[in-house]
């Protein structure tokens, strides 16, 4: 079992109204040091395979086809061992 982390972000220059609104809100909450906020998506995929290369290739295909919108978004992929290591725990 492998786990893929996919980070989807807006391409540079594309307006990010969410990020801008969050930034303003954080500043109102007293976090004056926040200069910019960008909002993207973070996906975790559990994959029934042990082949990292194959996994990376197939997740790339998934990103191109569905997970990211190439017209306005970029993505990055990380492949890790599944179950045991989870980036967030």
């Amino acid at each position: 079992m492998l786990r893929a982390s996919v980070y989807v972000t807006l391409r540079p220059g594309i307006l990010d109204p969410q990020g801008e609104t969050i930034r303003a809100s954080l500043q109102r909450l007293g976090h004056a040091e926040v200069e910019a906020v960008r909002v993207g998506k973070y996906l975790e995929l559990d994959l029934r395979t042990e082949d990292r290369n194959a996994a990376e290739q197939s997740v790339t295909r998934m990103c191109d086809a569905l997970l990211a919108n190439p017209v306005i978004e970029d993505y990055a992929i990380e492949i890790m061992d599944g179950e045991s290591t989870c980036s967030l725990e």
């Binding site: 307006l15 609104t21 306005i72």
Partner: protein, 730 residues
């Protein structure tokens, strides 16, 4: 200029470039050429269409503002007026459906509140290829999601529209959006920059590199490029900021400090500055150095040409600047002084005090070239269908097939994604009737609105197709009880450099002209979208009509569903003799054959008049026009939209061919139901209105039963029809 053919970079011709040089008496610099490139683009200048558009009738006592402003305006009495307009966002939606459609909504809203009107309703007229195709699905779902996300967030209900599926739109979906707003007559604002010394404020979002050479150029050229290369043109909408902009602008125009308001749409600052100055016969000077930026390092060219969303230009008296700025500040919006109105009829652009462009305002706007492009009327499809073609399928099966076809299936999966109630004015919501009806709070009145087009008919016969589109809109409004007032229109065509395309454009305009004159519905504005073409495939010539009507007493309206068992069913009008150009021939028999039925205007008017009177007197509460799919589909729709699932039993005597009796679309007919005690009064109204009237049956039961000359040819349970109807779009 180092490049030997500088005009090409901005999409102009060599002759146009020469004209610019003659106008300036020198060569334009890079920025100036950019300004001309944008303003003289097809999208902004209407250079191929203007002389034809001039044929449209634009006057009437109800018209307060005709074409030429941000929106048309009609009088509805009691010192109130309605501003409305339709616009296309076809090309952006083909590249990025969610944002393309969303920014379309944003743009049409700004046209309405630029007039000082509060937007009270949105409509969307959408066209796609076959929904079974994965790419088409993606576009369809994305467009709907974009409209839903933007419209719902800004709090303007989406109350109507239409969705058409036809292979002609496979690569070029059409996304036309319409907005209706309400304004006190005295508070109408116009997009003018009058009064030397008045101050120009830029309000709303900071300016980024969005859509430079975007909407305008994109919509002014063929569409063969790889969408990947269009990325810089993709704009993302911010409905939250738009909501603040609506509230702040409507508050600001209440003060006498504001002289004029204009949105920044296609061609951004360039167009907003030159158009406001041109309307007032003034000049303007602005300093791009003062324009708030979203990205570092933008040059004057980029600032002037950016199509960043959610921005407005507000022209203010100098003594009112601080007051107006404080209104915007309270809505958390920047309102930055970027320049002033001048008397020299020049648009002068400065950067940090240095003049970087100076061009005569009129040369950008009215001075744009116009073309009388060669055109040739396309061949009109007149081949006749053969009566009794194939012993067609059983009419009951054919009806179920049609009702479940994406062309007719319930639109609920779409309009449920739209907030159609916010604002608490929606009296007739999507799916309830032939048109949406909004009440006008504080009065007894109601406003009805509809958006309707028929590219298929126009492909067969552009002139008659256009006439029928106007007539159908007129009939849709009459069916809810509203008196039609005026139209706006969106003309979606392929490449105007092709003679037949240009010819169909000319014919469509002639058809609209005829219909609008005959039905007293002047044109108050509109939009032209050319180059809806991909690799030589053109969309059908598709005029979309947006029509506004008025109900004096909004409580007296009709919806399309059967309401009470025992009511008697009548047809107001005449028709049903000819299957030419019908959806039945097309969907069930696969025959695209004419002729497109002509419109009988005296009949159309008397049908409308009779229907409106019967509704206004309160005797008719169910009315539905007979159009696509003929009487069979119309009856089924009355049953399917009945809140209590009522069916009807009908005898269509006088016609011996069931296919024609069920599915012909010609003529002008409205189905109405009245309780028996009012039938005599309905006869009187019809007679007084010179409207043919025919009784055909009764409302009741949970089946739809249709007989011809006494013998039953169809019996379908409403539930069975519903199953097909509700699944058709899945």
């Amino acid at each position: 200029m180092s490049d030997g053919r500088p005009w090409e970079a901005v999409g102009l011709t060599q002759e146009e470039y020469r004209a610019i040089c003659a106008e300036l008496d020198r060569e334009p610099n890079h920025l100036e050429l950019g300004l001309y490139g944008l303003m003289w683009s097809e999208h902004c200048s209407y250079k191929s269409s203007r002389r034809h558009l001039d044929r449209l009738p634009t006057e009437g006592p109800q018209v307060l503002q005709g074409p030429g402003e941000n929106a048309g305006v009609v009088d509805i009495g009691e010192d109130m007026a309605v501003a409305f307009r339709i616009e296309s966002h076809n090309h952006p939606s083909a590249i990025e459906p969610v944002q393309g459609a969303a920014t379309g909504i944003g743009g049409i809203l700004r046209d309405i509140f630029a007039m000082g009107a509060r937007p009270i309703a949105l409509l969307d007229s959408l066209r796609f290829g076959d929904p079974a195709d994965a790419r088409v699905r993606y576009l369809f779902e994305g467009v709907v999601a974009g409209i839903s996300a933007y419209g719902n967030c800004v709090g303007v209900p989406t109350v109507g529209g239409e969705i058409v599926f036809d292979d002609a739109y496979r690569d070029n979906p059409l996304v036309n959006v319409m907005c209706v707003g309400l304004v006190e007559r005295a508070r109408l604002v116009r997009g003018t920059a009058a009064g030397t010394g008045n101050v120009v404020l830029l309000v709303g979002a900071p300016t980024g590199r969005d859509g430079i050479h975007g909407a305008s150029l994109l919509a002014s050229r063929e569409f063969d490029e790889n969408p990947g290369d269009m990325r810089p043109a993709v704009q993302v909408g911010d409905p939250f900021r738009e909501k603040l902009l609506i509230e702040a602008c409507l508050e600001a125009v209440q003060s006498d400090d504001v002289i004029g308001v204009n949105d920044l749409g296609a061609a951004g600052l360039t167009s907003a500055c030159s158009e406001t100055a041109a309307r007032a016969g003034s000049g303007m000077q602005i300093d791009v150095g003062r324009v708030p930026r979203r990205e570092p390092g933008m040059n004057p060219y980029e600032v002037m040409l950016s199509e960043s969303q959610e921005r407005m230009l507000v022209i203010v008296r100098p003594e009112g600047v601080a007051r107006v700025q404080s209104i915007f500040r309270r809505w958390d919006l920047a309102a930055v002084e970027i320049g002033k109105v001048t008397g020299d009829r020049c648009l002068r652009v400065f950067e940090e005090g240095r003049e970087v462009a100076a061009v005569p305002v009129q040369s950008l706007t009215d001075g744009a070239p116009t073309y009388d492009r060669p055109w040739k009327s396309p061949e009109v499809e007149t081949s006749r269908w053969e009566p009794g073609i194939a012993q067609g399928p059983d009419p009951g099966d054919a009806l179920t097939e049609m009702i479940g076809h994406p062309a007719f299936a319930s639109r609920r999966p779409v309009f449920e994604q739209y907030d159609h109630m916010v604002g608490i004015n929606t009296v007739l919501a999507p799916g309830a009737a032939d048109a949406a009806v909004m009440r006008v709070k504080g009065t007894d009145k109601g406003i009805a609105c509809v958006a309707d087009g028929d590219g298929y008919l126009c492909a067969l016969d552009p002139r008659r197709g256009a006439e029928r589109s106007v007539a159908e809109s007129y009939r849709n409004l009459s069916s809810v009880g509203a008196r039609p007032l005026a139209i706006t229109n969106c003309l979606n065509f392929g490449n105007p450099e092709i003679e037949e395309i240009m010819g169909s454009f000319v014919e469509v305009i002639e058809g609209m002209r005829t219909a609008c004159l005959a039905l007293d519905t002047p044109v108050t504005g509109g939009n032209v979208s050319f180059y809806n073409e991909t690799r030589g495939r053109q969309v059908h010539p598709t005029p979309v009509i947006g029509m506004i009507g008025l109900l004096d007493d909004v409580e007296r309206h009709a919806c399309s569903g059967f309401l009470r068992a025992g009511e008697r069913l009548f047809i107001l009008g005449r028709g049903g003799e000819n299957l030419g150009a019908s959806q039945y021939l097309r969907l069930v028999h696969g025959i695209s054959a004419g002729p497109v039925p002509a419109v009988d205007y005296p009949l159309e008017r008397s049908v409308g008049l009779a229907c409106r009177r019967a509704i206004a007197e309160g005797i008719v509460r169910t009315a539905h026009d007979v159009s696509h799919g003929g009487l069979g589909v119309a009856l089924a729709e009355c049953a399917l939209t009945s809140p209590c699932g009522l069916g009807a039993a009908v005898d269509l005597s006088g016609c011996d061919d069931p296919e024609v009796a069920f599915f012909a679309e010609d003529g002008s007919r409205i189905l109405v139901a009245v309780s028996p005690e009012f039938a005599p009064r309905l006869r009187e109204i019809a007679a007084e209105s010179r409207c043919p009237l025919k009784e055909i049956g009764r409302v009741g039961g949970d089946h739809l039963e249709i007989a011809l000359e006494g013998s039953r040819v169809l019996r379908s349970s409403v539930q069975e029809l519903r199953n097909a109807w509700e699944r058709g779009l899945e």
